[in-house]
């Protein structure tokens, strides 16, 4: 699947999509995505009292959606049976505020279908702000075969 088709296949509406663009994808297990966070985005505006802080939970979601995107591009996941994250480990190196464009570099660390493990670094201007690793099942429980 092409990166563009994979982006379109993410099962989220615009309000909850935290991957804007695929910067690069080697097709073998590494992808870099970009996400722009504006201050008027609802989830950021809700944190205006904190100086438009980008919430850590959203950074985790950016990494998880990037993992799903890579699985779609590689053909490890099907658009109609998309899976869910089962475990996440995150380390926040520094806070970041909007507006900002954050890149997520993600590599596949484990793949035994239907399960995938990944490691990701989210960065701002080349400096890592968050490290995320996770495990997900690529098939939604109860999805039709």
């Amino acid at each position: 699947m092409t990166p563009e088709a994979a982006l379109a296949a993410l099962p989220f509406g615009a309000a909850f999509r935290f991957v804007d663009q695929v910067i690069s994808c080697d097709g073998a297990g590494r992808v870099v995505t970009a996400t722009h966070y504006d201050t008027d985005r609802k989830v950021i505006a809700a944190h205006a009292s904190l100086g438009s802080l980008i919430p850590g939970s959203i950074l985790i979601e950016q990494a998880a959606q990037t993992a799903l995107l890579l699985a779609l591009i590689r053909g490890d996941a099907a658009p109609d049976r998309l899976g869910v994250v089962g475990a996440i480990k995150a380390r926040f190196e520094r806070p970041v505020t909007a507006p900002a464009e954050l890149w997520c570099e993600l590599t596949v660390a484990y793949l035994q279908a239907p399960q995938l493990g990944f490691a990701a670094e989210i960065s701002l201007d080349g400096k890592v702000i968050t490290r995320v690793s996770g495990a997900c099942t690529l098939e939604m429980p109860g999805a039709p075969p």
Partner: protein, 92 residues
């Protein structure tokens, strides 16, 4: 797998530490030869997180597609897997 290769205590200790974190227990509670699933209650997501941590810690790449890892169920077997993956990455 690399049964003929010598697994160091350093690898065994680190793998046990990673397995203990996934199980949310102390490393001393994880036996080297106990089945992580049947004896320690590890679930299918837990083993994925262990492999991710091993890859990050020891720096080896994603396992090849189709490689069956389901038989790796103990700390000692995981350590052998790590030793094999790291050994093949180092030029002789």
């Amino acid at each position: 797998m690399a049964d003929d290769l010598q697994v160091t205590d350093e690898i065994l200790d680190k793998v046990r530490e990673i397995a203990a974190e996934a199980l949310d227990v102390e490393p001393e509670e994880v036996s080297l030869d106990g089945d992580l699933f049947e004896d320690h209650g590890l679930d299918s997501i837990g083993i994925v997180m262990i492999h991710v941590e091993l890859a990050l810690t020891f720096g080896f790449p994603e396992p090849a597609r189709g490689e069956d890892l389901s038989h790796i169920r103990t700390v000692r077997a995981l350590s052998g897997f790590v030793h094999h993956r790291t050994a093949v990455e180092v030029p002789r």
